[in-house]
């Protein structure tokens, strides 16, 4: 696997992803990796079976822009990252409000590193 581009500026990220869209790339997915202080996001795109991976690193508390205005399909994985990692994403085209997987009122982000699952018998 190779990371084709590393980007830290959200605006540059959106411009680049828009360019991929215009060039006929299919969005494959986004992978979120919790690196303690930061979240590392790998955006994967495909054209004619060749994959491009774009890496973006963002501080935990910082909000990143949604790409669902460009790739409509991105809303689902963005909702997933928001719910499971606690990553903050702005303007998701269809924001499921934290109820994609989790029950009403649940605030935990189970894929985040600091998450500790409840032990049986705990109150």
């Amino acid at each position: 696997m190779s990371i084709n581009k590393i980007i830290s500026n959200p605006e540059a990220m959106l411009n680049l992803i828009k360019q991929y869209y215009d060039d006929g790339y299919r969005m494959v997915t986004t992978t979120c990796i919790d690196e303690a202080e930061v979240f590392r996001l790998i955006y994967s795109f495909d054209k004619d079976l060749t994959m491009i991976n774009l890496e973006v690193t963002t501080p935990r508390e910082k909000t990143i822009p949604s790409i669902s205005d460009i790739y409509a399909c991105a809303f689902l994985v963005e909702n997933e990252m928001q719910e499971l990692f606690g990553l903050k994403i702005d303007n998701i085209a269809l924001d499921l409000g934290g109820k994609m997987y989790m029950a009403d009122g649940v605030k935990e982000t189970p894929m985040a590193r600091e998450f500790k699952p409840a032990v049986k018998g705990d109150e």
Partner: protein, 358 residues
């Protein structure tokens, strides 16, 4: 008449799995929808971080019953790349064989459900009777009907004997005869065409925009199948993807029908090409680094991201399954359609919610 919003699922006669859509109708036309999944989420990606990398082979097999072999294979391919393992040639063709019988099993299962959705119950039983022969073959060769556990890091855990190969070839020819007999009944049927032709349109441009994969992508005229990349033994087999251009629910059915025949031929070819020798190599040490692997499952592309740090446990395992890619497509395919067509259009994506939620 005003708008009403009604739930579709999570329990619905046409769906074997809990997909839930909140659909807004105006009169009998769909105008909007919003997915609400989460009924079978198991947190397998998190669980994978707590297991040893060798144990995860058995864990990822349980992401999905139907594609279990290919989940294990994709994961093993990733670990093999990280550890620099070259699997034996015999294992490559055995992986093709098991992948293709999994695809036959999946497509026959879907064709049966498709028939049942129209009320063709006898046809449903006939498809599943043919599928049963494949499941028997899995039991004969892998020791289990669904979760085979045949794939291992370094190759294939259980090699095939000469007798098993002979039975496998006979079974595949028998299944081919069966599906040749059954398929025309459904694919040439007036009612089936009336309910599927022109329904659930996903144009070539929308297929790319909404991230479609597998038979969905190929039924929209895009000749893309990861087997073209030549993983396992596909590189030597002159593989060409099946493509249809009508972009509707019927075209998606036709792709799966044609792929069933193609998979039978590929499985037979893989058996005929099996070289002598070992089916696996021994593996020592722990993986380190990160990789992305993609494989063509029956429903389309599956992606595995693996990050390892040289210990027995992985730092991150991420799985993007085909149905996860297809849920957004429904947002394009359903608006504008009649209420009565919703179940068949949803079924045309061959949804697997177990995969989607992991």
């Amino acid at each position: 008449m005003g708008r009403i919003t009604a739930p579709f699922g999570p329990q619905h006669p046409v769906l074997p799995e809990p997909l839930h859509l909140n659909i807004t109708y105006e009169d009998e036309k769909v105008v909007d929808l919003s997915p609400a999944i989460g009924y079978v989420h198991r947190g397998l990606e998190k669980l994978a971080e707590t297991k040893e990398y060798t144990q995860n082979v058995f864990l990822v097999e349980r992401v999905c019953g139907i594609c279990s072999f290919m989940h294990a294979m994709t994961y093993c391919m990733g670990i093999e790349e990280l550890m620099g393992i070259e699997i034996p040639p015999r294992a490559k063709y055995l992986r093709v064989f098991y992948s293709e019988i999994s695809r036959i099993h999946s497509h026959l299962l879907w064709l049966g459900l498709f028939a049942d959705a129209f009320g063709f119950e006898n046809l449903f039983m006939q498809y599943w009777a043919a599928r049963e022969k494949i499941v028997d073959l899995m039991e004969l060769t892998g020791g289990h009907r669904i979760i085979l556990s045949s794939c291992s890091i370094g190759g294939i855990r259980r090699d095939l004997s000469t007798e098993q190969i002979r039975i496998a070839e006979d079974t595949l020819r028998h299944v081919k005869n069966e599906v040749e007999r059954i398929n025309p009944i459904i694919m040439k049927d007036y009612t089936v065409k009336k309910r599927t032709v022109g329904k659930g349109i996903l144009t070539k441009e929308d297929a790319l925009k909404y991230g479609a994969v597998g038979p969905m992508l190929r039924a929209s005229g895009i000749a893309q199948d990861l087997r073209q990349t030549g993983y396992a033994g596909y590189g030597d087999m002159g593989f060409e993807p099946i493509v249809e251009t009508d972009c509707d629910s019927y075209a998606r059915g036709v792709v799966r029908v044609r792929e069933t025949y193609q998979s039978i031929e590929l499985a037979l070819e893989a058996l005929s090409r099996l070289p002598e020798g070992e089916a696996a190599v021994k593996v020592k040490g722990n993986p380190e680094g990160e990789t992305i692997q993609r494989v063509e499952q029956p429903r389309g592309e599956v992606l595995y991201y693996i990050k390892a740090n040289g210990s027995k446990n992985l730092e991150r395992l991420r799985i993007r399954t085909p149905t996860f890619a297809h849920v957004p497509c429904l947002l394009k395919m359903l608006p504008g359609c009649d209420m009565a067509d919703v179940p068949v259009i949803i079924l045309s994506i061959d949804p697997c919610i177990s995969c989607t939620e992991r």
